[in-house]
Symmetry: C2
Subunit: 338 residues, 2 copies
């Protein structure tokens, strides 16, 4: 979208020439409040001297907001913190500002509100939004979708290696002698087979691996709303069953925290293997010591923001970034007593 | 700001009369994407019938955004999660949407960006922003400031009872026999005496209480950037000192998590009393079991949003909400060995 040939003049060049910060240049370009006349004059002189005409300036003239929106379904989910931090760091130093929109109820409304002049591009984490609707949204505004395994044409995707991560957990538990392994995950709506969410893929992989190992009859799945007390209640039920699991594979670290809480509260800490997913900051805490899968949440957030910035620079062909998954083995995955 | 007399016609009245949801009425008023012609007709008929002219509609005509902005300095701080959830719940069911703006570097830029047409009102958590500047901001847009102990005229404030909360911690530790009590808090910039931040007030109260108890010579203060590894390093230093503390009062739960991590990693879990502040969800976890002060973070977020909505309805005199502080005693505050 730049009209210069060869290496484009950047906002940094303008800042260097004018002897001001990049933020100051950005303020002058978007005509923001708080720019002194002297500052404006210096920056405009540098813009003229360098012939600065990048796409961002072009958009500013058309009324760009210089904001990127991140739609988040659960502000209290710890994995979201990694995504937010990664996106924030990738956007820092650009003229853009990140705004976060917590979804109230249906995510469609939140996404519409963002698209409705609030931001120039959207990072969405909306497991339940219809792909066809998203394709339509992607025609109106640049979109990067986080955590969806489908293959869209009109927007970008950032996903983790949910199959690899789940297989790594299961292999580790088999090696520790576990066979009676239960899976505690999110509700049906986001784990329905084939719906393409990370949690659906993890559940499917769990079932596949158990079946491959000849343990299909020991498959035990519990689904609960992602609230700590419900994870505890589900754990209590699993442990009270006639043939309780010796290992519980939690869909993510927040669920695993509930599992660990229930086990500890009943005086059985260290007796049942527990694994999480996401390797949130808590997993490494010595008092939690949770085996988990590092799926590079910060990097996922940073890549999503970077891909959105690329689209704002003119890229239209869809891209997909798949983060690697690495098992972090810690004390919570104890050996099977059997 | 309403031009009707007596009880104003509300958006709920319009929704009831039109037989549609409040969200649908809001969409029609702000001319949002996705409203069918039939829907628009029904809502406009109801508006005409009832003579609906509330302040929000008036603002919509002037270009209201129907958004409230929450500026947050640290997206990963767990206390922020409480604030965000509380504000989100208070805004749910109104025609407003909450957007969150993580501060990149200087908070002035983030607040300016919010005020610059993005939102109709701002909840700010900016301990380092100049009060005079905030008074100016408050003249341009409704502002609620969270966690500042000053008495502004141009905006509202929501604060906790930092004196009461800290006194409760100290009394509890004295009762357990502790005298050598250290305080680990945030950096100088946000804890400077008299600067009016919650952490400055907690630090000042710690000093006052120690002095009142005749323990002025045992005052020991460590300040670190709020990063888990730095809290661990500070704890290691405190414990390596010639006369190490028997209790560590952390400025908030996130710092306390670092303190607990260092103590556990060196095999001394349960030997040194640790207290936090904010009673985040982790404090009650059986594996953490952290004594902390519940300062009603969700309620603080909800009150801030409610006060902002009141200002948008026309209130101009400043209000202040002070949350109560309640000590939650748990296993981490062990008795002094001495």
């Amino acid at each position: 979208m730049s009209i210069t040939k060869g290496r484009s003049v950047t906002i940094s060049d303008v800042a260097r020439t004018a002897g001001v910060s990049r933020a100051a240049v950005s303020k002058v370009i978007r005509n923001a409040y708080g720019v002194s006349p002297a500052m404006r004059e210096r920056v405009e002189a540098a813009i003229g001297e360098l012939g600065y005409r990048p796409s961002v300036a072009a958009r500013a003239l058309r009324g760009s907001s210089y904001r990127l929106g991140l739609e988040i379904p659960h502000v209290s989910a710890r994995f979201m913190t990694q995504i937010m931090e990664g996106a924030k760091q990738a956007v820092a130093g650009t003229p853009y500002q990140l705004v976060l929109a917590p979804a109230h109820g249906p995510e469609y409304d939140t996404l519409e509100s963002l698209a409705d002049g609030l931001v120039d591009g959207i990072i969405a984490i909306s497991p339940l939004v219809d792909p066809a609707w998203l394709e339509d949204l992607g025609r109106r505004i640049p979109v990067v979708m986080l955590g969806r395994h489908d293959h869209p044409t009109g927007y970008d995707t950032v996903v983790g290696d949910d199959i690899g991560g789940t297989r790594a957990i299961m292999t580790h538990l088999f090696e520790l002698g576990h066979r009676r392994i239960a899976h505690l995950t999110e509700p049906e709506a986001v784990t329905r087979p084939g719906c393409g969410t990370p949690h659906a893929v993890r559940l499917e992989t769990y079932r596949t691996v158990m079946t491959e190992a000849g343990l299909a009859d020991l498959i035990q799945v519990a689904r609960r709303e992602d609230v700590p007390d419900l994870a505890r209640a589900a754990t209590a039920e699993l442990l009270a069953s006639p043939e309780p699991p010796t290992a519980i594979v939690a869909g993510h670290d927040d669920i695993a925290m509930g599992v660990l809480a229930e086990i500890a509260a009943t005086g059985r800490h260290g007796e049942i293997a527990v694994t999480g997913y996401d390797n949130t900051d808590l997993a490494a805490h010595p008092l939690i010591d949770l085996t988990s899968v590092d799926q590079q949440g910060m990097e996922m957030g940073a890549q999503a923001a970077t891909m959105l910035l690329e689209r704002l620079q003119g890229r239209t062909e869809p891209r997909r970034y798949r983060a690697t998954a690495t098992l972090r083995i810690r004390g919570s995955s104890v050996r099977s007593p059997g």
